[in-house]
């Protein structure tokens, strides 16, 4: 388990308005909780909202290659826990 888990919080306008504004706390919570095992960043639009006009499933977060729809802090932390198992 050397490879870092990557967490990308989409901070594009659609995701931001639909809820990723509230996910910004992950940028502080995750490093505090997992140290250097997880790399977390707020990123520009991941373009996931424009596929089939799926804005209603925003906000999106990518944990490695997995896409979390309608992401919440809880969901993202659970996904990280799963990966660390």
């Amino acid at each position: 388990m050397d490879k870092k888990i990557s967490v990308k919080v989409c901070l594009g306008t659609t995701c931001f308005v639909m809820g990723s504004a509230n996910l910004q706390e992950l940028l502080e919570v995750v490093p505090r909780k997992y140290g250097d095992k997880v790399e977390v960043a707020g990123v520009p639009c991941l373009r996931l909202c424009s596929i089939d006009w799926e804005f209603s499933k925003a906000p999106y977060v990518k944990v490695d290659d997995d896409i979390i729809k309608e992401a919440t802090v809880e969901k993202v932390l659970n996904a990280i826990e799963e990966k660390l198992k």
Binding site: T14, F16, V17, M18, E25, P44, V73
Partner: protein, 486 residues
């Protein structure tokens, strides 16, 4: 501090707005508006919040009705949604009362009362029975019981119970309302008493069912833009920091929506600061004890409806919105002016201001960006014609208004500012006391903000307070000070 936690109700409300705006831009607004509940809850959808998909659709229809700017309570269920959408396009003016309640969602709340939980041990001391002055408590089957007919909701029993076994069952909207304007009626439906309501919007944030809606004016604004009118946006200082972009990018993002020009309301805030500082100076020279600010619309409505005794102490200076709209209408006399606001209360203020035609909240503007695919973070920068001062841009944060006034006062006028950081029953009581005694022992310049944290804590903001204040602070830091201007 203002808590704007993540809420699924906000997600739902914003989704409906995006769909309504999309429908407006489509070639058949009425029909596509009608389809919204069906698109959101298609045939094979499994109901997640309510008993069945049919009820969820009915509720979504009601929410869309609020999005159209109509009153949910007054709308006949049998009228076709497409008809309503058509009717809205013919509307000349927005509705006067800016809130509406989705009453079907209110059945979930039990009326506010005190309740003995299972934690009751049926103790020997029985302080609850002995403390109750109304004889409402008796012990049955080894547990205390409250007779709701006799109970006056004084709460003494809950205070004396050694097991903390007696709870107050609250209705969140009633509990949040600082002026007792929202309550369940005998039928169990929540009603807003608009004679008492100060439009602060606390009930919107408080309701876990998202049952309190604002009546949106977005369709009206869209209509004017479509008809080729010159529509000018006036952006309140609290909006900078609400989106993932710089203020200059936000300006061009708003222009992309079809606005003719975009003004910073901080420009008007500079006029407010100057006028208010001069007024404060004069009042203090005349030996007055204190003055309160006058820029918060919910506070102003509170003064009108519940606190007339403080009127002589409230500044007569107009709000930043007022001065900005005056400037805008002077520049573009034939324009439609739209104020972008963090709260509902400004809608009410706008209705009494001939220079402000419409008010949109940040979540509505956000939905508009989504509907048109405007990525604010990718927009090019576009500067404001008139740059406001740092002090004016800081109006959005508690203490910012008082600081701006203080910065413009001559040194021989001592100003001690007091901030009322959020209107609630306690702070209203304090204000009443200052008015009654004619003195405030804490200071002489009282800044009143209805929302904790100031405008950044408004009920219609997007970004949580902590992040928003960080973003705004950066903008303020990069702005020129009004002190150098003097």
């Amino acid at each position: 501090m203002a808590i704007t936690g993540p809420k699924e109700t906000s997600h739902l409300k914003r989704e409906i707005l995006v769909r309504l705006i999309k429908a407006f831009y489509s070639n058949d607004f009425a029909e596509n508006a009608r389809l919204i509940p069906y698109q959101m809850r298609p045939k094979d959808y499994e109901a997640t919040y309510r008993c069945c998909v049919y009820k969820e659709r009915a509720i979504l229809r009601d929410r869309a009705i609020a999005g159209l700017g109509l009153s949910i309570e007054d709308t006949d269920d049998s009228v076709h949604m497409a008809e309503l959408a058509k009717k809205v396009l013919e509307r000349e003016k927005p509705d006067e009362n800016c809130l509406t309640v989705l009453q079907t969602a209110c059945k979930g709340c039990v009326p506010s009362r005190f309740y003995v939980t299972d934690l009751c041990q049926g103790c020997v001391a029985r302080p609850c029975v002995n403390t109750c002055r109304f004889g409402a408590i008796s012990v049955k089957d080894g547990k205390s019981k409250i007779d709701t007919e006799k109970c006056k909701n004084c709460g003494m029993c809950a205070q004396v119970c050694p097991y903390q076994a007696i709870m107050k069952v609250i209705v969140p909207c009633e509990n949040a309302c600082p002026v007792g304007a929202i309550a369940k009626d005998d039928s169990g439906y929540t009603k807003i008493d608009f004679d008492k309501c100060i439009s602060c919007g606390k009930c919107i944030s408080a309701c876990p069912f998202g049952a309190v809606h604002k009546k949106s004016q977005i369709i009206d604004v869209l209509k004017h833009i479509k008809n080729g009118k010159k529509v000018v946006a006036m952006v309140a200082p609290s909006m900078f920091g609400q989106f993932p972009c710089s203020p200059e990018q936000l300006r061009s993002a708003i222009l992309k929506l079809g606005f003719y020009d975009v003004y910073e309301v901080a420009q008007g805030a500079d006029v407010t600061s100057k006028t208010e500082a001069a007024e404060f100076e004069e009042r203090m020279e005349n030996g007055e004890e204190f003055m309160t600010t006058s820029c918060c619309a919910a506070y102003n409505e509170l003064v009108e409806k519940h606190l007339p005794e403080i009127k002589p102490y409230r500044s007569t200076t107009h709000t930043p919105m007022y001065y900005t709209a005056e400037i805008v209408k002077e520049e573009y006399p034939d324009c439609i002016s739209v104020f972008f606001s963090p709260c509902v209360a400004k809608r009410k203020e706008a209705m009494n201001d001939k220079n402000v035609d419409y008010v949109l909240n940040y979540d509505e503007v956000g939905a508009w960006f989504i509907a048109l695919g405007v990525r604010t973070e990718e927009c090019e920068k576009s500067g404001f014609k008139v740059e406001a001062t740092a002090q004016a841009r800081n109006y959005a944060v508690t203490g910012g208004v008082a600081d701006a006034v203080k910065a413009l006062l001559p040194e021989d006028i001592p100003a001690y500012s007091v901030t009322v950081d959020g209107l609630n029953k306690e702070s209203i009581r304090d204000l009443k006391k200052y008015a009654k005694n004619g003195v405030c022992e804490l200071g002489n310049l009282i800044e009143v903000m209805a929302c904790p944290g100031g405008c950044l804590g408004g009920s219609s903001t997007i970004n949580p307070y902590k992040q928003a204040s960080k973003n705004l602070a950066k903008y303020v830091q990069d702005s020129k000070s009004c002190k150098n201007e003097k």
